[in-house]
Symmetry: C2
Subunit: 329 residues, 2 copies
């Protein structure tokens, strides 16, 4: 197809408008940035592959936004402010210019919305399937990155937003004829599908988390497994009240229709909510910061010195989860 877009034209027409200071309009081999004094750089990479992390026929703009947003969610969980990102794009041979245009338009929307410019990247052909790798850079005051493995006994465990929506949205995509879906209103079904398609990185809560939390991560692989990761690294455990774990109206309706979906909600992942351990004395200040950011937060349990996590049901019984989280490979 000799009239297809060249790499040069793709960069100049679609990517260069997203470029930030120090990226030289993507005409150089590298970006150079002068980090502000007194700030640490926070760095994270997330890779997404078609058929694993998104559906190949998802709207191109939504694929781009999800790839960027899962990275921004890591920044939010570390208490960082976005600085920019680099985009690696492995394109299979059947790409089209309208698809690329839509991909970049989705990216452009979020670059503006989250104020996170493109700093560089690489676009290559692949004999495989669409794969996107984003490295995101953020800033925190020196030494202040919110760590994952620093929770202490007595800390209160908070989560933002609601848990399980995206996992249920994925289940709905995979089996649209499932009985439980019939029990949901149309807008509830749409809400779950949207939550899978388009994560909402909690950047508005990043500073509040950094100021008030002792440890944090984002829930990407499932609430149960991610909590285990966060606490195991600190050698502590927790008591979690399962009836406190915040479910959306749609997820509640799904679980009411099919109680097994509670396990899906708590272990399926793709939530991109914040999971934080907050010293008891900071809990009220954190709640106030969350209110100011207009993000719901819920206390779901307490960190314990005993390195076991008790997930306690409403009837007081411990609940076991066979598989805590999504396995990557």
């Amino acid at each position: 197809m000799p009239d297809r877009l060249s790499e040069f034209e793709f960069i100049a027409r679609y990517l260069a408008p997203l470029a930030g200071e120090g990226a030289y309009g993507l005409t150089d081999d590298a970006a150079s940035i002068a980090p502000p004094a007194g700030q640490d750089l926070v760095l994270s990479t997330d890779m997404l592959s078609a058929g694993t992390h998104f559906f190949p026929d998802d709207p191109a703009g939504a694929i781009a936004r999800k790839a960027l947003r899962v990275n921004l969610s890591d920044l939010a969980a570390k208490g960082a402010k976005p600085l920019g990102f680099l985009l690696g794009l492995a394109l299979p041979g059947d790409w089209s210019e309208p698809w690329l245009a839509a991909f970049c338009d989705g990216l452009r929307h979020d670059v503006g919305h989250f104020d996170v410019p493109l700093l560089g990247g690489d676009t290559v052909g692949t004999r495989g399937i669409l794969t996107i790798s984003i490295t995101v850079l953020g800033l925190v005051p020196a030494g202040a990155m919110l760590r994952r493995t620093t929770a202490q006994a007595g800390d209160r465990i908070f989560v933002s937003g609601t848990i399980g929506d995206a996992a249920l949205g994925l289940k709905a995509r995979l089996d649209p004829a499932a009985g439980w879906l019939a029990a949901l209103a149309a807008d509830e079904r749409a809400f779950l599908l949207e939550r899978y398609l388009l994560p909402r990185p909690r950047l508005a809560l990043a500073e509040g988390a950094r100021r008030h939390a002792r440890a944090g991560m984002d829930v990407s692989d499932g609430f149960v497994g991610d909590l285990r990761k966060m606490l195991a690294g600190a050698g502590v455990g927790a008591t979690v009240a399962l009836d406190k774990v915040p479910l959306s109206q749609a997820a509640s309706a799904a679980v009411a229709a099919a109680p097994d979906l509670f396990e899906t909600a708590l272990t399926g992942g793709d939530d991109y909510e914040l999971l934080l351990a907050i010293p008891a004395g900071e809990a009220e200040a954190f709640r106030a910061a969350a209110r100011a950011a207009d993000i719901a937060v819920t206390e779901v349990g307490t960190v314990t010195a005993d390195p076991v996590i008790h997930f306690v049901a409403a009837d007081g019984a411990d609940r076991a989860f066979a598989r805590g989280s999504y396995l990557h490979f």
Copy 2:
């Protein structure tokens, strides 16, 4: 395969030993680094996909090293010193622990050799083929990154090492029975194959390039096309003496056996040599820096105000190249 390595074990056993300061032993969701005062960060991403950038049956350690080295080559061309890298790895379902162990062992070799620690990354399963995305970070004194598009008329054009070896090595891999290969000695064939398999990033020349060159890039897509890119961005041209372009003994033997291979050598890419525009008054100092770094450099032409590149053959005639460089997609 329940006895396969888990993601956690893979990170702990194979990747954590490569982690640098600020990477928290890869137990956190992000790295945090404090950039040294007075330095700019240089950032670049290169993505490699099996069957496009390497052969799927190349040794795993060589694949890892190539992925890292093509990124380090960008740092060298920008005059930067390596600081660290992030690794994105999309693994198809048929991976094995010995393969991963060999991949990480190759990486470990280069992490030590080039003093470039692992800062983070992401490993995911893919339904496609092996794809590697590396983002590399380097440092230069503030404002001193060597730019691509800043050459001026009168600058001398230098290249490091020899041109075309990797392109001929690739040709030899694709057609091992080609007649021209029979004209080469066994060690010449081995040299070309090695040059394709394992780039040599010219980091030892990075500081010399930064101090003495006005513009630079690495030759990754082909000497002819990359020179066009470098000069077009500056609105200048050049006169290049084709008989000055440095060829290895092996490449010379190949071209002697099959003259068409000269075009392959000059346009095939994968050289990872430095291409520099050096003010005439700096040429001697640059040569001295290259001698000190024990890297051969060759002056191949001069930048002209006339924005055309004349590739002049030994007989004085202009030579045209139909296809200047490798096309990415």
